[in-house]
């Protein structure tokens, strides 16, 4: 039983590993990473200029760079990686092997997420190094915030992969960014829904609020700025929410992907 389950994971693991290897060796990601590192350094300079505020500014800009660039890379990789394989036909030689399509799809997901996590850790190290070298401070509140950013990046990756399981990279990139922006501000939809008069519109807004991923819960920049504690239960709940949402999308994406013709 366990051995059989393990055998199913071998092809999934090697697809994930080779996806990571392929992504890590291509140069595209480095430009984004470079830009994010530049922004973190820039925040340090900004901090110098605005007296007494250094730590706050460096933390704010650094965290913003981490979450924004993380999400951007997730959109980029998630929307383009599977599609690129279909376009270039390299997928023919993989899904024609004795593997299930879902193993391919989920293997790709883990490969992309591994790539993104490595980039995020590099950015975090850069941010902590700047804070420590400039100010001698190590604000540990950054760590839970970082965990939430990682969960969010996973979720954004699955959104992009889900859209790319049936549409083109531009369309799925566009849809993913739309979902990201809407999800980040979906608490406003809630507020809006409570105010509108029309029954139908309220129902629609309510539905949108329920369906859209509540990405705003991963944003703890206020807590980080003011060094407020982030409760562990909140952290766990938010992570569980994000991972469940991602799992559902991965499942749906796999189902759609399994039904595709590769012509």
């Amino acid at each position: 039983m366990i051995a059989a389950a393990f055998r199913q994971l071998v092809p999934l693991g090697s697809i994930a590993f080779n996806t990571y290897r392929e992504a890590a060796r291509s140069k595209i990601l480095y430009s984004i990473l470079f830009f994010a590192l530049f922004l973190i350094l820039f925040s340090a300079v900004m901090g110098e200029v605005s007296l007494y505020q250094n730590e706050r500014i460096i933390k704010d800009i650094g965290l913003f760079a981490l979450s924004t660039f993380g999400a951007l890379m997730a959109v980029f990789l998630g929307a383009s990686f599977v599609y690129k394989e279909i376009e270039r036909k390299s997928i023919y030689n993989i899904v024609s092997k004795p593997i299930h399509r879902w193993q391919y799809f989920i293997g790709k997901f883990f490969g992309i997420v591994a790539t993104l996590l490595v980039q995020l850790v590099l950015m975090l190290i850069a941010l902590l190094a700047v804070l420590w070298l400039w100010l001698g401070a190590l604000p540990w509140v950054l760590l839970p915030a970082f965990v939430l950013i990682c969960v969010e990046v996973c979720l954004v990756t699955t959104i992009a992969l889900f859209f790319s399981s049936f549409s083109t990279p531009y369309l799925s990139g566009f849809l993913t960014i739309g979902t990201y922006v809407a999800g980040r501000s979906s608490y406003m939809i809630q507020q809006l829904a409570s105010r509108v008069e029309s029954e139908g519109l309220r129902f629609l807004l309510d539905l949108a609020d329920r369906l859209l991923p509540a990405l705003y819960i991963f944003d703890v920049s206020t807590e980080v700025t003011y060094n407020l504690p982030i409760p562990t239960t909140f952290l766990l709940q938010a992570a569980a929410y994000g991972l469940c949402y991602a799992a559902i999308l991965l499942f749906l994406g796999s189902v759609i992907f399994s039904r595709r013709d590769f012509t």
Partner: protein
């Protein structure tokens, strides 16, 4: 046209893999039953029939050639077998397992048409990756990868990223990855495309080598003389249907198109010996090359020439080749060109 001369025996055998025990030949390795595929294309979902009720079966240990003009449906048939495309209707099995399923693909090696791999992986890494997908151990993968790269002539490029490969090198890598797990059934979509003359010959030898070890090979090709040389059975697809066609190639009794005689020392002019003049006469130094229509009885002509005292150096029969048949069938289907 082909002249009735040589085919060479297989030389190289792919590395690894014992010969399969001989099986009763009535078991079919590949079975295709009334397979149809209709593509839906464009906004209006216009239907494009690509395959219509195609049926065939390939016995174990047999080489099966799939020929037909561009767009005939060869690749579509192959992709359905490998589960890349779902058939609209009909069914198929590979090694007795229904298609599409992971089990049906477990013992199958597949070379896609114009294969494409990952840019940044090395050839060796890619082969090992494919081996892992077939459930091979890491060590097996590594040793098979190196052996097969040597076998397809890429030994010295094993550590190169695939992005730096030429077209023919990619095709060779494609062949290597199709053999990595020593498959029982090998399906090759245009295996010779993009290869140099030596590479083409090596592919022929490889296919014959696979057959000699009891493997079943299904391949599509536009290089008809090679199909003719290799295939035990040939299927002819045209616009998604099989053309009824004198399979297996009327090999026992091929239609003779033309005769050629090389003679010298004619004592009297030719017209006095033969009732019917040759189609063409060409002279080469002291010899004459006479070309006759295939319907003419050659033995009478030869007997008369010998009786008249002429010296006969060569008798060549040009039988109808697959290529002639191909052109004739297609023209008959499409009507004469204006």
């Amino acid at each position: 046209m082909r002249s009735s001369e040589s085919t060479q025996p297989p030389k190289a055998t792919p590395p690894g893999g014992k010969a399969l025990p001989p099986r009763s030949t009535d078991r079919s390795a590949i079975q295709v039953d009334r397979l149809s595929k209709t593509f839906r294309s464009g906004f209006l979902r216009r239907s494009i029939p690509a395959l219509t009720e195609v049926s065939f079966s390939v016995p174990e240990g047999c080489i099966f050639g799939l020929v037909g003009p561009n767009g005939a449906g060869k690749t579509t048939t192959i992709k359905i077998l490998l589960g890349l495309i779902k058939a609209t209707s009909g069914s198929a099995t590979l090694g007795g397992q229904r298609v599409p399923s992971t089990r049906s693909r477990a013992r199958v090696g597949y070379l896609p048409e114009n294969p494409s791999f990952y840019d940044h992986l090395q050839a060796r890494e890619y082969l090992a990756f494919v081996g892992r997908l077939f459930g091979m151990s890491r060590r097996q993968c590594a040793s098979q990868a190196d052996r097969l790269l040597d076998y397809v002539g890429l030994g010295e490029h094993a550590g190169k990223p695939i992005r730096k490969f030429s077209k023919g090198m990619i095709q060779r890598l494609g062949i290597a990855q199709a053999l990595v797990h020593d498959p029982h059934i090998v399906i090759l979509d245009e295996p010779q495309s993009g290869l140099d003359p030596l590479g083409r010959k090596e592919v022929k030898e490889m296919i014959l080598g696979l057959k000699s070890r009891g493997r079943t090979v299904l391949f599509s090709s536009h290089i008809l003389p090679d199909v003719e040389d290799l295939a035990d059975e040939i299927a002819f697809l045209h616009r998604g249907r099989f053309l009824p066609f004198d399979s297996p190639l009327t090999k026992a009794n091929p239609k003779v198109l033309q005769w050629q005689l090389e003679v010298s020392d004619l004592p009297v002019p030719l017209e006095e010996i033969l009732d019917q003049p040759p189609l063409r006469t060409a002279s080469q130094e002291d010899r004459l090359l006479l070309t006759f229509d295939g319907s003419l009885d050659a033995s009478t002509a030869v007997a008369r020439l010998v009786a008249a005292g002429a010296c006969i150096h060569k008798v060549i029969s040009h039988t109808e080749s697959l290529e002639d048949l191909f052109v004739r069938e297609i023209q008959a289907e499409e009507g004469p060109k204006t």
